[in-house]
Amino acid sequence: MTTDSLMMDEASSVLAGVDLLRIVRINEEIKRVVGVSFKINIMALNAIFLAKRAGTAARGFGVLSNELRVFSQDLRTSMEALTGLIYGCVNAVSVGLQDMRYARLLDEASALASDASVLAVLRRRQAQNAVHAATLSSLRGKLKRALEDAFQLVELGGVLAKSAKIEAAYGQAFAGALAQVSGEFDHVVEEIRDSLESLRRSAFFTANRG
């Protein structure tokens, strides 16, 4: 094996290891978002009961609370899809790491042996590696798009939370309680927005892969 190809192999292996670490971090953030979306669901349920008690003055707030509940369920579905893609990425990066190891060993074998069959196997292996790399690249793109979709969903959640804040002002005797609940909605949705914003900036998507 040449020094250059050995260095490239090591660099690719390090990059794949870093990618695995980034995927783990993305997954942890997704788990956090799932936890928060569950919190919104409970909050929205409480808000619906509160709006019912407040009567006609909080009808708009009740409609928005119901929408926020739907939003939390949609967000969970979206996070499930992201988790599926994360699993696919972990698998593809692991396959890539194994590819690199086998390619390195076959490369070493071809450098030591004058047998033609090892070169043929090495070429076949490199072609398979290229297919696996393309699979990872495609999954990376899908994950990025799914993350963008989730981000758009959260923007909608933000609009709903802010509208609930406005509606709370019309809650007459319940205005204070409704304002507190809508403020919590807004805070939680912002928390999710920040999480997804950090995921969009993850080096897993942005790093230069030459």
Binding site: R101, Y102, L105, E108, A111, L112, A113, S114, S117, V118
Partner: protein, 244 residues
Amino acid sequence: MKTTKTIFQQGNHKWVAIVRDPAKPNFIVDTNEYLITHGGKGLILDPGGAEIFPAVFSALSAEFDPTSLVGIFASHQDPDICSSLALWLEFNPGMRCYVSWLWSGFIPHFGGTAETFVAIPDEGQDISLEGLMLQAVPAHYLHSSGNFNLYDKIAKVLFSGDVGAALLPAGEDGLFVENFDRHIRHAEGFHRRWMGSNEAKRRWCERVSKMDIDMLCPQHGAIYRGADVARFINWFDELQVGIV
């Protein structure tokens, strides 16, 4: 790169030992691989770990066309035995891997498909290599709980896996045992610790002492020849094993 030594030849029937790699890092245990060829086809015995594949492959390919390998015999499941499996399969995906039924669900973690594995029953079985009948001989608990040796009655060679293994210091790592008393000191600790059952050891000694063996070939260390074969079996029979 490892070196090869033909230890038996009769026409196209050969046993080749693939041994000692000066370039091997010290933290990886040294292993012996064996190639049996007959009728243009080959069977590799305990082909070794993935990290030593380049050294084993290059040595083997100098002697034999690797695409003509039709089988792998794995004495047991350890990584130094056959974690290179996936790499060998690259040369002939139709290659079969003979291993104890006990490990036939575990070894696939090293590679292969459902069609790759031939599960050897506890009592052993015959394995044909282009008409040459080889015999998988039970050696359970020596050291693995599902463990086989391979006997070639034509060559009178017994591949004994970890039985007979020795961890040899530099300078005393010749291919053959030349001084039994001096050599066996390097085998004693290994056998006491790695071999788990005195009863299993007793049965193995009884079984192989009835066989006509010219060479006993372990996976680590040196090959026992001639009178040293019986000497080893007697020594092993007396040794108390399963001791830390």
